[in-house]
Amino acid sequence: MVSADNLEAGDRAALAAFLTLGIASIVAAATSEGATLVLWLFVGGAAIALVLVGIHKRIMAFFLRIGGSILVGFIAIFLPLAAILLFLVYGIGLGLAFAAGIPLGAEFVFLLVLALILVLGNLIVLVANGALFLRNRGAS
């Protein structure tokens, strides 16, 4: 039961992480040029394609097999947490710049909103996984 729940939480975290990576890479492509642009498009496309074909579930099943439910539980918490910290720091940096009255262009408003959406998405996953683990701990 715990393993199944951990796997479910791990799947959710991996799904969010791959989608975050996919979106972040496509946005990175939009702010790059030349070969880097192509590379980012490839990474972003690959991340989203992996999610669509369900590779993230296989990866989590593999981790569950070799590392057990503890490894999967660890991933389920730390993947969304890392994404939250990373994009939150970016959002705070841009927010500080806007708050200081720095005349940044509209593209940065878009990046700020996107960073906050990624933070919010990963926060939802973190809260859902945390609640699942707490419920399991309470039940056992």
Partner: protein
Amino acid sequence: MRHISLIRNITSLLLVSSLLLTACDVKFTPDVKPLVIEEAGDQPFQDSSIDESESIEGAGDIGIKPLVGFGGISSSDAIALCNEREFYGDNNVGSCLAPGGESYFVWTSPDNVIEVSRDSPFYREFLAASQNRANELGDIESLARDWPKLALLFGEFIAAGGTCGGTAAGILSGVGIWLALGLGGACAYSAFHFFDDAVDITNDAEELVNSINDFGRFSADAEYNYCRMEGFSDGQCR
């Protein structure tokens, strides 16, 4: 015909009467009270410590031309008038050499343009502040545009977490030495790049905060010198 003659006579009579009246010494007593201008009291925002002669005389000494009536001109118009000669800063805070080459158009907001003499010492200070401000703005934009680094760092985190976790799990569960070795190599590679880029991003974040602070400082400097160029005193501009 009679009517016309009568009107002519009356007009002549009135004319003669008025001439006679003006010739006499008429005593005129005005019925209007004389206007008394009262001294204004202390103003709410008046700084009593300000020496009024400081701003006006100072302005004359340093060759600040009186503000030209540029009502309605925007910084974009000023830049176009200057033909972009000696244009520094940007549309929000900047300056350019006015036609004729003897003065500069200066602004601290797009619709607040004044003209100052090119010899003004405050202009030199303003120029330095506006250039530094523009440089800081460029740095901030460049740092804020570093989104790809975020994506890279997150990708490296996933790779490092997955491979390092897999290595540890592989060794502990005894899945296989070759799998553990393969994952271990990938773990070392991705972890190294992850930490390298994490240090880079931390430095960028620090630089961003410094640039934001410097931008504020240079903007305040530019505002101060603009205020001095308008002819206000040090106390009024601070």
